[in-house]
Symmetry: C2
């Protein structure tokens, strides 16, 4: 790999549009919770996830393909009929909702805010992987196998701000790949992310729980358990990617 870089903040998304991303593999992280939820749904047998930014986009797909399930939150809660013209969403954005019973064999249209923005910002890349702690080792192996010229780790953040848990996820992936990188390839941002992860390594849960999102989730009784759920390491053994048609699937082996 010739370059390894981490983008910490949503402000970087705008700059990405003017950047040549050919020969670049992006890995997008939205640890709390979009990317963690996506890989959980795939682990439980979902056929594909279609990420969209806005509720009307999700509804349009549902009209065309009534068999899809709808997932999404606003302000942490499952989208209610009042926001979606009376259509009830099947899921919120808690990964614990996406059980095998409910998702096996299904295609799920998921509307998130920052997670989707991050994925769309990567649209011109050669390939886009879905990053999470839940499948980090498998993602690292898939990155190594695809041996991209440039590796760009994209933190989704929250609103317009940097989110610590995404930086920790990106840093953990940097750490797994570190020995495969030439020193000259490593940008300062990757050095920072890895250093942050290593400083928190013995207690990533405490570090991530100290984040703004960690605090927010911990304050909501229904969602508190999502924090520990999303920070489990390597419970799934597959990488996931966003294909050119906009579907997130298990990476073909």
């Amino acid at each position: 790999m010739k370059t390894l870089e981490v983008l910490f903040t949503p402000a970087d998304f705008a700059a990405l549009k003017n950047r040549n991303l050919s020969q670049t593999l992006c890995v997008a992280f939205d640890v709390f919770r979009a990317t963690s939820t996506m890989v959980t749904a795939l682990a439980n047998g979902a056929e594909a996830i279609i990420p969209v930014a806005e509720i009307p986009e999700a509804l349009a797909i549902k009209r065309a393909r009534p068999e899809v399930l709808l997932a999404g939150e606003r302000d942490g809660l499952r989208i209610q009929g009042a926001l979606s013209g009376g259509v009830e969403f099947d899921f919120g954005n808690s990964p614990r909702e996406f059980t095998r019973e409910r998702v096996a064999g299904k295609t799920i249209v998921m509307t998130t805010t920052n997670g989707t923005r991050a994925l769309r910002a990567c649209a011109q890349a050669d390939a886009v992987f879905i990053g999470s702690f839940l499948n980090l080792q498998a993602t690292a192996e898939a990155v190594r196998e695809s041996a991209p010229e440039n590796l760009l780790l994209v933190c989704s953040g929250t609103g317009e701000q940097t989110a610590l848990e995404d930086a920790l996820g990106a840093g953990a992936l940097c750490d797994l790949l570190w020995n495969y990188m030439e020193a000259g390839a490593i940008s300062d941002s990757a050095r920072m992310a890895r250093e942050l992860y290593r400083a928190a390594k013995d207690n990533v849960s405490a570090a991530a729980a100290g984040s703004k999102n960690g605090h927010r989730l911990n304050g909501l009784s229904d969602l508190r358990d999502d924090v520990a759920f999303c920070l489990r390491r390597d419970v799934f053994d597959f990488a996931a990617d966003l294909d050119p048609a906009g579907h997130i699937k298990r990476l073909a082996p």
Copy 2:
């Protein structure tokens, strides 16, 4: 203070233009080397620094006010006549050039790239301080005295990328102010910068020397000593600010 936030990357500058910065104090860091050089020049008796982005702007001020001195680099070297219509610049961007003999009582027009971009991005803020390790404690005290509603630490970066040494400087300032902040005021970015600084605390020089800029300067025999020079802590006892007329001066006590 109601908010403490760190911007790591030049991509954030564009977003700053659309942001309300009233009731905000910005501190800009360009550790290697613009902000370190600015405070060194002021410490050695310079009257003011006028930061400008482009060589023609510097030359226009020189024509109007022939007594000013010109400072600036391109690619690490003092601007040569070939780039400036035959006008020789008095200084490059090495803080060690700005000795008392050469700068006392003078106004210096300084053309830098990222440092100036960062300062201009802060133009709508209530106040802008010049951050460096060289006057960090004094800067922290000035921040506390000015007691802003919002404190925004702006890392200049290099080109379009995050620069580790700026994040370390911002993190060191966060660390000095930490006990004066309410937990709810602290953004994840500030938490990250402080954590990075604390992980590197016992050997900031080694950490910063591992940055891209540290490597570059260490590879240039004339500039190698700038690295250690800029990383000295609290050798100057004043804060500096950018006034509304665009002059950087010692902060009036």
